[in-house]
């Protein structure tokens, strides 16, 4: 623990908001462990760390969304209890969410004053609305026209509108959780200019990001969280990229001894120059029989877009392409499946399985045709096959009849995998295949994938979990800003080199 984070104590003005010894547990998970954190007026304090390090939980405590199990909160040096986000708003602590909460068809001014529109004689006072909006935008160094519809704005300007709204409602501390995750690089600088204007007007900003270059560019102070605890807090001048990477990764890297494949067979997927705008530009790769190939990128790097393009879910262009026996991109999921391509989407509950239907109906859904004779389904045959698949995939359920929603996350994911088994696929695309899955089930899923490729398939895993890619894949591509930044295999395919290449 480094003391520099508490160095402000000596100053005349206390920090705007400060937490001391904050603990937060969710069931058995100790998400935040005794964290001291503060932000002062006129300061941008960046919070960095891996997925699951506790960053979001910590700021939600500061924003009143969660109540700490232990620890104290101070605002302007006075001890407070924040019972809700509304309490935090009273003190001027506001959060800009990743999903912006704007009414797109309305004007900037109407959005900025949403919920407290100035009224004169019972009608909206548009002149005042416009003038006050313009004043707030000027404070942020923005010359946007208050009458423009928000729908026409680029993303970074929409964030500016959200910040302006926060200012109108009272803003002393602004919490920004990955605000640049979805921003194209050209707009990041624009947002940073607005953030600096806000800081110079005396607000404090808590800035969460995975992108270390950006953190080093914008932050005045940086705190590294790992496994729910503060590893280090440093002033911008003391920080280097190497130091941050070392502290973020910190722990001994886990040494999995998964069986890997070093010699690859014939290529089943060869993609040359895939563009899937706006996230992905000019991505080329191949995947061969017997191989598990990974695509690693930080959250929001667009690896999911590649998977969706290869499965015909979203539009993309490609210079040259071969997927199984298909020499173009599929036009729809059913087209992809006809050409022996399968897809396990990231959002299991929404896209991967149908929660309300039974295990049996979920597993058999893509292959219904195989069991239908003149349209009529052969239920005994279906039950037979489903039973053997439940066994093969180790789905733990009483029978195949209860709805999938009654299973645990790991077992739901096994169902999402098992349903492709009936269709002798050649190319299996998996997005975040073990997100929210416990360790035991993770290992089982990797083993199942390995068995699949040994039977002559190829698997491509798209993931933002470096450990997953390092553990499960034989070879991996690393995405950075929508392009392939590195290709790793063998001994260099490990968590630190993956993270290094993605940051």
């Amino acid at each position: 623990m480094n003391d520099s984070g508490n160095g402000i104590e000596g100053r005349a003005t206390p920090p705007l908001v400060r937490g001391i010894g904050i603990h937060k547990r969710f069931g058995g998970v100790h998400a935040v462990r005794g964290v001291d954190f503060s932000v002062s007026a006129g300061e941008i304090h960046a919070l960095v760390g891996e997925n699951g390090a506790g960053k979001s939980t910590l700021v939600k405590v500061l924003a009143g969304v969660f109540q700490p199990d232990e620890g104290l909160l101070y605002i302007d040096g006075v001890s407070v209890t924040l019972g809700s986000a509304r309490d935090a708003h009273q003190f001027g602590i506001q959060t800009i969410h990743q999903e912006l909460e704007l009414a797109l068809p309305l004007s900037i001014a109407e959005n900025v004053f949403l919920g407290n529109t100035p009224v004169r004689h019972g009608v909206v006072d548009f002149a005042q609305l416009r003038d006050r909006t313009r004043a707030v935008l000027t404070q942020l160094g923005s010359d946007l026209d208050p009458d423009i519809r928000v729908a026409t704005l680029r993303l970074s300007d929409r964030q500016v509108v959200e910040i302006a709204r926060a200012i109108v409602r009272k803003l002393r501390v602004l919490i920004m959780d990955e605000p640049t995750a979805a921003l194209p690089p050209v707009e990041v600088g624009h947002l940073f200019d607005r953030m600096r204007s806000l800081r110079n007007s005396g607000a404090g900003i808590i800035y969460i990001s995975h992108k270390l270059e950006e953190v080093l560019e914008i932050a005045d102070r940086i705190t590294v969280l790992r496994d729910g605890a503060v590893v280090d807090t440093m002033a911008r001048d003391e920080a280097t990229r190497a130091r941050l990477v070392r502290e973020i990764l910190g722990r001994e890297l886990s040494t999995y001894s998964a069986e890997k494949n070093t010699q690859s067979g014939t290529a089943l997927a060869e993609i040359d120059g895939l563009d899937c705008l706006p996230e992905i530009t000019n991505v080329s790769f191949f995947a061969a029989t017997g191989e598990i190939v990974g695509f690693f990128g930080l959250l929001g790097s667009g690896q999911g877009a590649i998977a969706e393009a290869l499965f015909g879910v979203r539009d993309a262009t490609v210079r040259r392409c071969r997927l199984g026996n298909l020499h173009r991109l599929p036009t729809s999921p059913s087209d992809a499946i006809t050409h022996r391509i399968g897809f396990v989407p990231a959002d299991r509950k929404r896209d991967g399985v149908i929660l309300r239907l039974s295990v049996r109906e979920n597993i058999v859904l893509p292959a219904l045709r195989q069991f239908s004779h003149f349209g009529v389904l052969d239920f005994p045959a279906i039950r037979e096959r489903v039973r053997s698949l439940i066994e093969k995939y180790g789905v733990r359920c009483m029978s195949a009849e209860p709805p999938v929603e009654s299973l645990s996350g790991g077992n739901q994911q096994k169902v999402a995998l098992a349903k492709w088994d009936l269709l002798e696929l050649e190319v299996m695309l998996l997005e975040e295949p073990t997100r929210g899955v416990d360790v035991g089930a993770k290992a089982e899923i990797y083993k199942l994938l390995r068995i699949g490729v040994q039977a002559g398939k190829t698997c491509v895993i798209f993931s933002s979990d470096a450990e997953e890619i390092a553990t499960a894949c034989d070879r991996a591509y690393v995405l950075k800003r929508g392009r392939i930044n590195a290709e790793l295999s063998g001994a260099v395919l490990n968590v630190s080199s993956l993270t290094e290449a993605a940051l």
Binding site: F311, V313, S332, P333, S334, A336, I337, T338, F343, P345, K349, R350, D351, G352, V353, I354, L355, R356, L357, E361, L365, P366, L368, R369, F371, S372, G375, V376, L377, F379, R396, P403, E405, S406, L407, S408, G409, G410, N411, K419, D438, G440, A441
Partner: protein, 336 residues
């Protein structure tokens, strides 16, 4: 590893136990059946005429038209669509059938094929329109409800056509083993649709699509095709309903069956099919149809003025929708 119970697709929690007559969960239709029996028992005390064979047959006859349409409408709603144009299609198919039979002298079976064909074509219009313009089915079929009805008036210039073909009259008014042919036809359709819903690839796909369209798409189901199919089937069943209407009244009127679409929706919802798709049964719908029939017959026997009967039918629809909503969590504002 403990099993985690999560909510279904809509994300809302079930809002506690319901009065047991509205529970359809594990034993579909048991509650409804009880409701139906209670109504029948109560009415048999209320009116000496109610429990006569003649009256019971009349009830079945009175619901045969909406019943015919409601069977396929169950599949429409299971697949998360709604077809409000069925009654208009029935009227249009009816007047076309009457015209070809009476004015052009087509034989009965050709006439029936033409009516079913007109219905299927109207359904195809619905399905194609929804697929191409991606407009939700409620809005689309409100539009075609008016269009098809209007076309029926235009074709006939607003006038009725007498039916003089014996076979067509027989289908509407004849009896077989003491039971009206219309009722046999309706029951046959229920058997067929039930089989499709429970045992066929297409039927099970409707349930999957209704329960989660996106996951179904990602499993390779072609949503557009299934939507077209279900609307064509719905239109075809409305065409059959049009034939029954003609046969029962002996005339084809462009204004016939007005408002029946709401009775159909009421019956399907009463039967436990969800407006949110993915669940429902044809058997439940049949019970819903019978409840509507018994209610209206009972009110007539008890001399309830017809204006109040209209109110009662509206309340029944609201109750059916309310129960459906309540089952998936009431009092929760939808925040998109």
């Amino acid at each position: 590893m403990s099993a985690v119970r999560t909510n279904s697709g809509t994300g809302a929690k079930p809002a506690g136990p319901l009065p047991s007559i509205f529970r359809f969960g594990s034993l579909p239709g048991i509650g409804l059946l009880a409701l139906l029996i209670v109504m029948i028992v109560a009415l048999s005390f209320g009116s000496p005429y109610f429990m006569t064979a003649n009256n019971l047959i009349n009830i079945l006859l009175s619901v045969s038209v909406i019943g015919t349409m409601a069977a396929v409408s169950t599949l429409v709603m299971v697949s998360r669509n709604l077809d409000l144009s069925v009654a208009s299609i029935a009227a249009l198919a009816g007047v076309v059938a009457a015209t070809v039979a009476t004015k052009w002298g087509f034989p009965a079976w050709t006439t029936i094929l033409i009516a079913v064909g007109v219905g299927a074509a109207c359904g195809a219009v619905n399905g194609i329109f929804i697929n191409v313009f991606r407009i939700n089915s409620i809005i689309t079929t409100i539009g075609t409800l008016s269009v098809f009805r209007g076309v029926a008036f235009v074709l006939t210039d607003g006038s009725s056509t007498l039916i003089n073909d014996d076979t067509l009259i027989y289908l509407g008014s004849g009896r077989l083993g003491g039971v009206p042919v219309s009722v046999w036809l309706m029951l046959a359709i229920y058997c067929m649709v039930h089989f499709i819903a429970a045992r066929t690839r297409v039927g099970r796909s409707f349930y999957a699509i209704g329960a989660n369209p996106r996951a179904s798409l990602l499993s390779g189901l072609r949503l557009g095709r299934y939507r077209l199919l279900v609307f064509v089937a719905s239109g075809a069943s409305a065409g059959i309903a049009g034939i029954l209407l003609n046969g029962q009244s002996g005339t084809a009127m462009p204004g016939a069956a007005a408002g029946y679409e709401l009775m159909v929706v009421t019956a399907v919802l009463l039967g436990g099919t969800s407006l949110h798709g993915g669940e429902g049964s044809v058997v439940g719908t049949l019970l819903g149809v019978l409840i509507i029939g018994v209610l209206n017959n009972g009110m007539t026997l008890l001399s309830v003025p017809s204006f109040y009967q209209t109110v009662a039918n509206g309340l029944l629809l609201l109750i059916a929708v309310g129960v459906d909503q309540y089952r998936r969590g009431a009092g929760r504002e939808e925040v998109a």
